[in-house]
Amino acid sequence: MARYVVQRLILMVGTLIGVLTITFLLTHVLPGSPVEVMLGHRPTQDQVAAVKHQLGLDLPLWRQYLRFLGEIAQGNFGKSFLTNQPVLQDIGQRLMATVELTTLAAICIILIGVPIGVLSAVKANSPIDHFVRSLSVAGVALPAFMLGMLLQMAFYGWLGWLPLQGRMASATLLDHRFPAVTGLFLIDSLLAGDLVAFRDVAAHIMLPLATLTLANLPLVSRTTRNLMVEALTEDYVRTAFAYGLPRRNVYFRYALKATLIPLLTVIGLTYGYLLGGAVVAEYVFDWPGIGGYVVRAITESDYPAAVGVTLFLASAYLTINLIVDLLYFLVDPRLRSS
């Protein structure tokens, strides 16, 4: 098994280099010069030349590439044009906001989607099953941004229960500052014992959380359902029933374990969708996370930032997939022996 891990890590590094290369090509080969962006309008020839030299743009392409790889290896992702801070620092400041949102969404999706899928499978072809499947089909057709806006219209515009956007109301932020221990505001406000701040943070995270959860729920519940239906036809499930084991145990322990491997794959994929979906959700809700950072970096041609964040997100996604693959070993004893 250790050999497998090493193999996968090597593969991952190779893939990351590929990702780096593509990102490099995108930013350096295609038209659109970062120089103009940096210098604003009508720079002089000398200014342009100076900046070009500084950025290394006057070197031949392959040398730029090597320099690029070298810098990345050292952890130097460059400086953002817009914030003038190192990109890594920008990412650090905004990372936890996204982590809080996507992790909570992932938990909600699993806690809601899997039992629904199991229920749907156990009562296959019953009205409940048809209802759940219809919801799944419909849910996939609704774009996430639309869902977010509908929620805003309903809960902010019409009912006035929840705030429109942002992570905290600025008024609350001023009066209730709490130390950022983990960067996860829900936890930090509780740690500081500040209930007013906690309620505010919770209220703000509700809608983006609901959007991300509902947008990705159908896939998980549908996959769980289909996998469970197949698992329930297995002979060993029949054996469990033949010895009178209680139904709930059979479903959630014996049958579900069989679905775990493909289900883990889907969960890994879902986390990927969440990372991608966070981009849209953060845009809709003005959430100060990485997603919003990427969009702004790209629309404003902030190349270092765009490159940095893309690399970061791709690495995160690859790492998640690697973890999922390693979890297979935990779940399926048949893999361990080989």
Partner: protein, 359 residues
């Protein structure tokens, strides 16, 4: 699960009703009466079991023989209320006095394992690959015998020892894929034994195993049955096996029992043409170079079985009434029952003498 009817409906020909005062009736552990199982589908309904009647007395090993599609496995599942949806079960199955057909699943759950334990055909697939066999055994034992985990473990190891698994302690920690087919079937038998059931239903327990292993498992089953005084319903399509294990035999065709009686009697002088054809078709060593007799025709389509006696299109003794009237199950002297309009004459004289070699 099904609608319980105490009186049979629909089938012309009636049902085998034992005489009052017949000793067989009071000592029966399993009584199947006119069992019907059908699977309604979108376009047609498959009638897997069409009036099966069978009695298994306490302590005996009853063999249930039939080709694929004869309905024997479904009958076995029905005994424990395990017929999968959309199956509809009608008729009566009395297991140790409890009526299974039409009962609540919760009631049937109490019978499973403790009263009747089932052994399935393909042990590699019948055991969960994600759990150790120790875990699967103890889960079942804890649930059926209602004891603590620690005690269950001891019982599991004892059961594994009884089925002659080497090093049972280590085996408990193994996963199914680490054991051979023969060992896995022993594990299944151990699982059944550990529940201390009254009836063991073995559904083709050796079909998926190599021939040499088959013999071992069969011998094991036979010895264990004798030792523990178990009643066994042994289902198989292999006639060659029943001789060494079973006391009595029932032959099923197209969802009905065609003939039943003592093993020796049936094998020596079958009264039903189908049983006779089956015996002729089985190649047995030591019988001399006789030609293998095929049964002409094919197994009937269970969605549209032939009218009257289902075997009549292929029956060498078929007569005019066979195509229209379903033969009723009749009991004859010597514990033989037969459902046929033209039973074969016994070699030693009249049909009344069939089965003088009582079990």
């Amino acid at each position: 699960m099904g609608v319980a009817t105490t009186a049979p409906t629909g089938q012309p020909g009636g049902v085998f009703v034992p005489q009052a005062g017949n000793a067989v009736m009071t000592d029966n552990l399993l009584e199947i009466r006119d069992l019907h199982v059908e699977f309604p589908g979108l376009e047609r309904t498959v009638k897997a079991v069409r009036g099966c009647t069978l009695f298994v007395a306490k302590g005996e090993v009853m063999g249930l023989v039939g080709e694929s599609g004869s309905g024997k496995s479904i009958t076995a599942l029905a005994c424990l209320g395990l017929v999968p949806p959309p199956g509809r079960v009608t008729g009566s199955i009395r297991l140790d006095g409890h009526e299974v057909v039409g009962a609540l699943d919760a009631d049937n759950e109490r019978l499973r394992g403790g009263v009747a334990a089932m052994i399935f055909q393909n042990p590699g697939k019948a055991l969960n690959p994600f759990f150790t066999i120790g875990r699967q055994l103890t889960d079942v034992i804890v649930n059926v015998r209602r004891i603590q985990q620690a005690a269950a473990r001891g019982i599991a190891i004892a059961a594994l020892t009884e089925v002659r698994i080497a090093d049972p302690d280590r085996a408990m920690h193994k996963y199914p894929h680490q054991l051979s087919g023969g060992q896995l079937q022993r594990v299944m038998i151990a699982m059944a034994l550990a529940c201390k059931p009254k009836l063991v239903i073995a559904d083709e327990p050796t079909t998926a195993l190599d021939v040499t292993i088959q013999a071992q498992v069969i011998v094991l089953l036979r010895d264990l049955a004798r030792e523990h005084g178990l009643t066994v319903l042994f289902i198989t399509h292999d006639l060659g096996v029943v001789g060494s294990v079973c006391d009595r035999l029932a032959v099923m065709y197209a969802g009905r029992v065609m003939e039943s009686g003592s093993v020796d009697g049936l094998l020596a002088s079958p009264a039903h043409p189908y049983t006779a054809s089956l015996l002729r078709a089985v190649p047995m060593l030591g019988r001399g170079r006789t030609e293998l007799m095929q049964i002409p025709g094919t197994v009937p389509n269970m969605a549209a079985p032939p009218p009257g006696c289902a075997f009549h299109p292929r029956c060498p003794s078929a007569g005019p009434s066979c195509a229209s009237e379903v033969p009723a199950m009749r009991e004859t002297n010597g514990g033989r029952s037969i459902a046929c309009h033209h039973p074969l004459p016994a070699p030693a004289g009249s049909s009344e003498d069939v089965g003088t070699l009582a079990s």
